[in-house]
Amino acid sequence: MAAFVEIQDVTHVYARAEDGAPAVAHLNLKVMEGEFAAIVGPSGCGKSTLMKLATGLQFPREGTVIVGGREVGAPVKLAGMAFQNPTMLPWRTTLDNILLPLEIVEPHRSRLRRHKAEYVDKAERLLASVGLKGQGDKFPWQLSGGMQQRASLCRALIHEPKLLMLDEPFGALDTFTREELWCVMRDLHAAQKVTIILVTHDLREAAFLADRIFCMSSRPGRIVAEREVDFPRPRELDITYTPPFSALVQDLRAHIAQARAGG
């Protein structure tokens, strides 16, 4: 398999950073096509910067970012994104929120008006696949936090992105809802074969979902450890209580503790 996202020796300083300190420094990372990668690290380690670099929202000061075989010089257009905050637009119904990316991305943008029914159908199938069947007519603020997050995942996937970027998407949810959504995420990944990069604080989440985990150091962020996760798929929640799973989480935890200490 070829690398889909490749970050080579990237150093990035935000234009707005007053101290001129880099957010990430000498960052190297490779994610294969169709792979589910997770990035963990202490808070403020530049995980969100990494997301912005990989989607072309920011360009590196040094080094290169290659996505889908091309060096990133503009927003990549083949990415879907979801954040901790579901950011649904309150004046649109859930269904219309999910259709929003299609109003931006070509070729859907020019097809949307004439092929509306086809797209609505697709959105409804996506909604059903995340357990929100028939909820499309509701406004986002009529849904619970967990349901909004599910809808936000649908919005990130509606245009069939090659790359899905998730920035702590389950961070604000309670434990049960979070575990439910892990399974939703697992199934979506299995069904769509999309490359996923998940940024998270939750080591169990990373270990359960990912094929490959990167540990980042504190600011300026770089990768201090990389682990392949070879638990067989499909994984059930039960594996999170097995000794090898605990061992992996412990191992990651040690790296984060070290990174926090400034190692």
Binding site: T55, P75, V76, F83, N85, T87, W91, I104
Partner: protein, 257 residues
């Protein structure tokens, strides 16, 4: 008989308004206040009836001049607000100008309008426009410039242009701010047109006021004031109901109900 809270709330404005005028009437009669100082509501009501044709004639002029100025302010305010909301550079650059312009009392601008356009319908309409566009600009700009950065990232990562983001997210998001500002703007436009009429017009309630006060026709002055108040309430209520109809999604908090 116990009334539901909703009924009470619906009745309250009428009760309070009635009580206000009743108290006024009682004070005037009890202390024998001269109608030259403060006419009783009954005297004013009679004056309104007496001068009804004249009042109605001028009220129509005030109404359309206000609405014309207000309409210009809405169009201009939306446009400028969109520009300022989407560009931090233009926003920062023009803000002192805008604030400075807004700080000028518009009554001081009327003579200039008269130099330019002469006495007639233009100065009142222009005054209404000049006095009322500022809150619209500020509110639309604020609504657009405060789009959540995450929402912007979602769209930019899809290749959305600045224009896409303004039209898909910024503008709809600014609508509650916009309609909120309309309630302020309609009242200001009204003040503007009356000021314009007082100084540079031959028609309108403002002009009627000037002439009535010069002739010491006190009841007519008060009658004109009451007509102004009633018109003001009607225009405000119309704007507020448009707001409720257009931005129901933004008024879902318990406090709004």
């Amino acid at each position: 008989m116990a009334l539901s809270t909703k009924r009470k709330l619906a009745l309250a404005p009428w009760v309070f308004t009635f009580a206000f005028f009743a108290a006024w009437e009682i004070v005037c009669r009890a202390f024998g206040v001269s109608s030259f100082v403060l006419p009783a509501p009954s005297t004013i009501a009679m004056a309104i009836w007496e001068y009804r044709t004249q009042l109605a004639y001028h009220a129509v002029f005030t109404l359309w001049m206000t609405l014309a100025g207000f309409g210009m302010a809405v169009a201009f305010g939306l446009g400028l607000g969109m520009v300022l909301g989407s560009s931090r550079l233009i926003n920062a650059g023009t803000y002192p100008l805008l604030v400075g312009f807004n700080a000028i009392p518009k009554v001081a601008v009327v003579p200039i309008l008269v130099f330019w356009f002469g006495v007639g319908w233009v100065p009142p309409v222009m005054t209404a426009f000049l006095i009322s566009f500022f809150p619209i600009v500020v509110n639309v700009a604020t609504g657009i410039s405060t789009v959540e950065p995450e929402m912007e990232d979602v769209l930019r990562a899809l290749g959305a242009s600045k224009r896409d983001i303004v039209f898909k997210v910024g503008l709809p998001r600014a609508m509650p701010y916009f309609f909120g500002s309309l309630k302020v703007a309609i009242t200001l436009a009204y003040v503007g047109s009356v000021i314009g009429e007082q100084n540079a017009s031959n028609v309108g309630i403002g002009n009627l006021l000037t002439r009535a006060s010069a002739a010491f026709e006190v009841p007519l002055v008060w009658a004109a004031l009451v007509v102004l108040a009633v018109l003001g309430v009607i225009m405000y209520a119309a704007t507020a109901s448009v707001e409720r109809a257009m931005t129901g999604w933004a008024q879902r908090s318990e406090m709004a109900n």
